[in-house]
Symmetry: C2
Subunit: 342 residues, 2 copies
């Protein structure tokens, strides 16, 4: 046995019991089921406890009850602006139920994510996986050992909250079509991203529906730099407008375009996704709004409900999206349209 007493041996229930002239069980009850004990006894015990500086030991309680009031939240990249609002909302929601939340950064890496999840299982009552890069098999595996809620990942039988960007993407394409664009490009995101698969599909269907031709540009990890480096590929297509997997890539694209003297939106139109940059870019970015905070709140509520009721639901919540028109879209330039006549 060791010394839990780093500073000074913390008083235990037994100490309180002795000092108050009652049994340990009474002390325990005074802190939990106050109904099953004399009201006056409760206040006396609580007073004594405070006097001698007793504070219930979380670990011991957890060992006994099997509940420790912790959940974990795993995201691909904390520093990607899509996630912080989600993290914030989820954390504050958990806080309302007195839950503590572990944060894990998978670094867009399935192996790292798997390692984190394994570390968390056993320390938490529930798990919240955001935009998981894991395979369906691994997710199901983990779900079998620990209550699990997914955000932006659609695995049958596992409760999930999905941000349905299909609607917003379709609006974006319609918007582009209305402006006169006929050929567009889509710069895709990570291979294992559900959101990217959904957006890519939505782009292709929307293109058909609204009579456009679309080129898909290879998937990349979402970042400013990766957007910037995609510009040459984009210009190799006959596109007069581009839809990016997310705002970070869109912002990078705008910089890359500016670098070679192509001005947005006069010469080229750009549409982002997620609306995390606000009107911070110049020109202000036209983008698909996805309110990630709401997803975080909904998913955490779902998870906590499951834990409280000890029942495994099979929810499938879908949050809708819409296009936010700002200043990066305009009719195609005559020049570039001429390059690739319809």
């Amino acid at each position: 046995m060791t010394e839990n007493n780093r500073r000074q041996r913390m008083p235990t229930m037994a100490d309180v019991a002795r000092a108050a002239g009652v049994s340990k069980s009474s002390v325990s009850r005074a802190f939990t089921q106050q109904g099953l004990i004399g009201a006056d006894t409760v206040v006396r015990i609580l007073q004594v406890a405070k006097d001698i500086g007793f504070v219930p030991n979380h670990t011991a309680r957890a060992l006994s009850t099997g509940r420790h009031g912790n959940v974990a939240l795993v995201v691909p990249d904390v520093a990607n602006p899509f996630f912080p609002p989600l993290i914030r909302a989820a954390q504050m929601q958990a806080d309302l139920s007195d839950f503590c939340v572990f944060l894990g950064n998978s670094d867009e890496n399935p192996r790292q994510e798997d390692k984190l999840v394994n570390r968390f299982v056993g320390k938490v009552e529930g798990l919240l996986l955001v935009a998981s890069r894991l395979t369906d098999e691994r997710i199901s595996f983990h779900a079998g050992k620990c209550p699990l809620v997914l955000i932006n990942r659609d695995v049958a039988g596992i409760p999930r909250v999905l941000i349905d960007s299909a609607v917003g993407v379709d609006q974006a394409i319609l918007h582009l079509a209305d402006l006169g664009h006929r050929r567009i490009a889509y710069v895709s995101g990570p291979q294992s991203s559900w959101a990217d698969q959904q957006r890519r599909a939505a782009v292709q269907q929307g293109a058909i529906r609204h009579g456009l031709v679309v080129n898909i540009i290879g998937g990349r990890v979402p970042s400013y730099e990766n957007g910037r480096s995609a510009v040459s590929e984009i210009l190799a297509t006959p596109a007069t407008a581009v839809i990016a997997f997310d705002d970070l890539i869109a912002q990078g694209i705008m910089t890359g375009l500016a670098d070679i003297g192509i001005s947005v939106p006069a010469d080229f139109s750009v549409v982002g996704c997620d609306d995390v940059l606000g009107a911070a870019t110049y020109p202000a970015l036209t983008t698909v709004s996805t309110r990630s905070g709401e997803a975080g709140l909904a998913a955490m509520s779902l998870l906590l409900d499951m834990l409280a009721s000890r029942t495994a639901r099979d929810a499938r919540l879908s949050l809708d999206t819409h296009l936010v028109r700002r200043a990066t879209t305009a009719p195609p330039s005559a020049q570039r349209s001429a390059i690739s006549p319809i």
Copy 2:
């Protein structure tokens, strides 16, 4: 007693012991002090353990050893872009030592922060408070019960990592002076922010040193909106340039200025702090770089070192900063300078 067996009763050390024909102690040793036991016995036990799906129970181990491998990280606002890189770095550093990290969002609120810290103490071995909004007294109080490391908060006797923006701010003022500005404004941040106090002081000293006059604009919570709403106050001063507490406020100021037709940097110069927006604004923001990620990494390393060596250091690490010149600073406009002659 309850059912830790949500799904199926997890196998325990006793199960392994029985199946392997050894005692519980041997199983325990096989998982911890492999030296004190026969090498062949170890592999056999480990094999049996894997076969029956045994996995050591974190909670029980923690109760016995007093160590649970958790630390907590508390920030004022997860969604403020200054923090995510710091969080990310700290989390990944902890990960290297197999530590799990709780994340807390104080919402810029001392009471909320205190509540979070109280909740975390007892669940963690150590605490990392970033830009704490707590009083020195409360911080010392908590430090007395749990190993604590501070970022951007200078309390004697408590290990801390400080991002010294004084250097960068002085460079900014010199830069402004060189451009010909004589009157500037500083839009301050939260009252309880150490960084703000330091920057404010640096601005005032720098102003004296370089022969400028400075007006301080009341403190506000760092946000785009609060920057935007500060513009009228700024223009009520004779300033021809403004230094903002952080990039968020600076960005808001730029928008507010644009709203009323004042162009940056031709009519007015703007300098931010933290360099979290990259070149995302237009014009690209001149700002003081503060690499928050490095602070997160350093602080977490410090904390983990303390925990590993069980010694309380009194470190005071200082990280330096520098001005990043981009496009929001230029000589003062003749017009506005005329309004308030030197």
